[in-house]
Amino acid sequence: MSEHITLPIGPQHPLLKEPVHFRFTLDGERIVDVDIRLGYNHRGIEKAAEERTYIQDLYMIERICGICSHVHATNFVQATEGVLKTDVPPRALYLRVVVGELERIHSHLLWLGVAGHEIGFDTLFQVVWRDREIVQDLLELITGNRVNYGMNTIGGVRKDLNPAAIEETLKGLKVLEERTNYYAQVVQADSTFIARVSGVGPLPKELAISSCACGPTARGSGVDYDVRRDLPYAAYNEISPPTVAMCWAAHW
């Protein structure tokens, strides 16, 4: 009898947000190997992009991801502008940053809510996702859309910001700032929350670097890295975005 047990998880499994397949090999309770398949949702977008025009590609590429749609489109227009050596008006670069930052806020709130849900803190999930509606509404106000904003185009952006929208956005952001500060206070003070996450699944700094982690994952492990500062694009070379991240897992 083999000492190893194979434990398949996915492609459909309650733990998973998207269809992937893990074939774990277990030696007792230790995972000694994992075979992974990530292709279930692979739509062949690179191949499809080869057969379309640059403008058609832009709208397809915005649909790579439903959470980070603007950033994919931004990457694509920047690459295309680089090839064409096109100058983009400074106002358009700033508008890309505005939508990019609003997208970042909605994305971080989404994951904060999911993180709450995963540890059984569904109140956090519900209040955070309620607040996320504020930033979704702002994105709709500015771009006309809540998910695929259609803001970018090659050489600039497709929509301008008017004074009324600016005022509305600043108002919404003020509410979000207050709420976010409150949640930050709760997760640093609530003893049940801390007991649940402290020391769980720490990713040591060296491993975060060698496994090419980035964004909040890397910063949570103490890696001082932010693409907006270290390889600036759009108007980030003229702004210094504050870079913060904390991670309870590291506190063990």
């Binding site: 990530l38 062949g44 502008e81 670097i209 090419c212 270290d230 390889l231 600036p232 694009y233 108007a235």
Partner: protein, 128 residues
């Protein structure tokens, strides 16, 4: 500004890529590898390694012949590269010598062994 403004582009022989990566790490210059881009250019397959070093972006291009697309894997010196390499292995049919884990990651088990979807001669009508 375009991010390209801060980037360096260099081309090195394909067989030196592992040593090159290893040297970046040893010298303390390696900060991040965003991804590896693979593409076919005629009878050549080229790979772009998108590094971040203290001076900014560093894009290292290596090319291998389409007829024998083999080069050293950098996964023994940088484990995070393994998913990038396995994706290129599946989709472009590049062989990475010394790769820590050569199993498929994107294509299903029943997909033909000698068909690579991102090569130019592959048409979506050919999908098995």
């Amino acid at each position: 500004m375009l991010p390209q403004a801060d980037m360096n582009w260099i081309k090195i022989p394909a067989e030196t890529i592992r040593q090159y990566t290893s040297d970046l790490i040893t010298k303390g210059e390696f900060r991040h590898l965003s991804t590896i881009t693979g593409y076919q250019d005629g009878e050549t397959i080229c790979l772009l390694y998108h590094f971040l070093v203290p001076q900014g972006g560093l894009n290292v291009r290596v090319c291998v012949p389409l007829a024998n697309p083999v080069l050293p894997s950098i996964s023994p010196v940088l484990i995070g590269a393994i998913l990038y390499e396995r994706e290129i292995q599946d989709l472009l049919g590049v062989r990475f010598e010394g790769i820590v884990d050569a199993r498929r990651v994107i294509l299903p088990d029943h997909f033909p062994q000698d068909v690579f979807p991102l090569r130019k001669d592959f048409k979506k009508e050919d999908l098995p």
